[in-house]
């Protein structure tokens, strides 16, 4: 029962990892950009949530009404004024510019908020549980987190394959030059994609902040978790990122159960094993 419990917790944490991964996967899909600052942006969103909840007296989830549009605007601006200039055949500029951005965000947060770890209080929901059997119960918060991840990925999937925006995203991804001939401004589309990615990041940031302590140095590890979930799930498949997140979460939970020092290592080893055995991931890109 102990093991079942660990695995269940791992599955639910997987939802959070899928949120990290979805934002990463989205921008890679649309503009082949890998954002090294992705994890630091998650942490930035967590700190914004801290400021907003304290300043406006809102609950953490309600604070998303402020943070999600704010992060989306930051994303759009970042893409239009900075990252669009780096896109091209050469791999180095986008990679190194987002790396520089990561350093700036991390140290900026350090300067403003100090290295002390913080946490967002969500009230009674934090400790509420649903008993499944006498020995097994699941926390309400992890469950909500997982369900939000599922809904979010469903919504992104619908957006990509059912709406005009999604069409523009996919068309731009297929051929940047041709979409311009049919009146799509690819720079604007890239901006929208980054805005959407950071809106997803803001949700991930709030859940990160409610779930446990956070501090300015946590970003890179979040980037790595998201990246591992993307690769395990299979590039270019949004539902795959959910599966990847769950695999990663379960691997970490099992590792932690064996020895607390093995939690992160087990997750990385699961990723490397997938890379060795099935480098295209479990669910590579599907055409819908």
């Amino acid at each position: 029962m102990d093991w079942l419990n660990s695995i269940l917790q791992g599955v639910l944490v997987g939802g959070l990892y899928a949120m990290f991964a979805a934002g990463l996967s989205l921008i890679f899909g649309v503009m082949r950009l890998v954002n090294i600052a992705h994890g630091d942006l998650v942490v930035l969103a967590a700190y914004l949530a801290l400021v907003v909840t304290q300043a406006l007296g809102m609950g953490p989830l309600a604070s998303l009404l402020v943070i999600a549009p704010l992060m989306a605007a930051i994303g759009y601006g970042l893409q239009r004024w900075l990252l669009n200039r780096t896109l091209g055949d050469d791999l180095l500029p986008p990679l190194l510019v987002t790396f520089g951005l990561s350093v700036i965000i991390q140290n900026g947060l350090l300067e403003i908020f100090s290295p002390d770890s913080r946490k967002l209080q969500a009230g009674a929901i934090e400790t509420a549980t649903i008993p499944l059997t006498p020995d097994l119960s699941i926390g309400v918060l992890p469950l909500v987190q997982f369900l939000v991840a599922v809904v979010m990925i469903g919504a992104l999937q619908a957006l990509f394959y059912r709406t005009a925006w999604g069409r523009a995203f996919r068309a731009t991804s297929d051929d940047q030059s041709t979409v311009q001939l049919v009146g799509v401004d690819n720079r604007h589309v890239f901006g929208l994609a980054m805005g959407l990615s950071l809106a997803v990041v803001s949700v991930a940031g709030v859940f990160l902040a409610v779930r446990a302590n956070f501090d300015p140095s946590m970003g890179p590890a979040r980037l790595i978790f998201g990246f591992e979930a993307v690769i395990i799930g299979g590039l270019g498949n949004l539902w795959g990122t959910l599966a990847g997140g769950v695999v990663l979460g379960v691997a970490q939970a099992i590792g932690a159960k064996i020895d607390p020092g093995w939690q992160l290592l087990a997750g990385h080893l699961a990723f490397l094993m997938v890379l060795a055995v099935r480098p295209e991931g479990f669910f590579p890109r599907v055409q819908a």
């Binding site: 180095l92 190194l96 510019v97 520089g100 951005l101 900026g108 590890a221 790595i224 690769i231």
Partner: protein, 348 residues
């Protein structure tokens, strides 16, 4: 008239620079005669960083393998040095070379995994590998686990006769390391593999279809970088005398700063990392009191350079003044004309 053209690599400038480099090297080799211990210490740190940045540049600038995980090899080198000297009683200098070999050997299976990832995903994958090694290192209880360990006094004192001799020895090792790493890089890039790398860099598909064994060459380069980086790591921790997983596998210290140097100095140029390291240490000596503001500034400078002058200081010198201190390409020069009179360069 046949034979009117000759193929040459050197230019007037490059010959002058080569003479200057030898003079500088001779001066640096004599530094223990004129410099204080603190200056030798600083110079050794600069040497280690020049070696690291040269190896990163070989990967990213010449081979298209952008890694943000080279701290893996710094850590491996450092830990190998500690293990070899503490458990097997090797002399630190012998251990340093063996540590390099270990780094090169470990790079081979790692490449087997990482080469499955393309482009930017390779970069993050290399970071995961570095994390794995960091976590593994913190499981080695004989070397202090997560909190690390110091190099025992008997090893430190047994290295050389007295403190000063030891400091000189570490300094000369650093200087030798820079010479070996830069020499190895130039030799590699001027060999047929270097030519193949150039072809891959311009168009991988075309290179492949012309019979270039792309994967094998990238593997060779990755292993060489592992070798050089691990030796630099061993030197760094021989100088620090203390190692811990967080220090040995730090992404900030061994990758972010190194990338900064390469970007400032000029990616894809031999002299780039040297210029970059000098600029970096100048900034560090003057501004590092600012703490995180200083790091934010470094990030900002790297972004601006990447957008405005992606070829860095060395690239700017080459474009603006034709300053090519270490040319890797051969040019066709009219035998009758003076090579200095700027012939049409034909890049081979």
């Amino acid at each position: 008239m046949s034979g009117a053209f000759t193929l040459t690599r050197g230019t007037g400038v490059s010959r002058l620079v080569a003479i200057g480099a030898f003079a500088a090297l001779a001066g640096l080799a004599c530094a223990p005669l004129w410099a204080q211990a603190s200056s030798l210490n600083l110079l050794t740190q600069i040497f280690a960083y020049v070696a690291l940045a040269t190896m990163w540049n070989l990967l990213a600038g010449f081979s298209g393998l952008v890694s943000v995980g080279q701290q893996a090899y710094v850590g491996i080198g450092g830990y190998a040095l500690f293990a070899l000297t503490i458990f097997w009683g090797l002399h630190p200098l012998a251990a340093l070379v063996v540590a390099g070999v270990i780094g090169g050997l470990i790079a081979i299976p790692v490449a087997g995994l990482l080469f499955r990832l393309r482009g930017a995903y390779f970069a993050i994958g290399s970071w995961v590998v570095a994390e794995v090694f960091r976590l593994l290192a913190s499981q080695i209880s004989a070397l202090g686990g997560g909190s690390g360990t110091s190099l025992p006094a008997r090893i430190v004192t047994g290295m050389a006769d007295g403190r000063q001799a030891r400091e000189f020895m570490i300094y000369w090792t650093g200087l030798a390391l820079v010479v070996v790493v830069i020499g190895l890089t130039i030799a590699l890039l001027r060999s047929r593999w270097g030519l193949a790398l150039r072809a891959i860099h311009h168009n991988e598909l075309a290179a492949r279809s012309n019979g270039v064994e792309v994967t094998r060459i990238k593997l060779l380069v990755y292993a060489v970088a592992g070798f050089g980086t691990a030796m630099a790591g061993a030197l760094i921790f021989l100088q620090k005398l203390r190692i811990s997983p967080d220090a040995a596998f730090s992404v900030n210290d061994w990758t972010a700063f190194v990338i900064f140097m390469a970007v400032i100095g000029g990616i894809g140029r031999i002299e780039g990392p040297i210029i970059g390291a000098v600029v970096f240490f100048f900034l560090r000596q003057t501004l590092s009191d600012l703490g995180s503001l200083y790091l934010m500034m470094l990030g900002l400078v790297a972004i601006v350079i990447m957008l405005r002058a992606p070829r860095g200081v060395a690239g700017w010198l080459a474009d603006r003044f034709g300053f090519e201190p270490a040319p890797l390409e051969r040019r066709l020069v009219h035998a009758k004309s003076n090579p200095e009179s700027k012939p049409e360069p034909s890049h081979v």
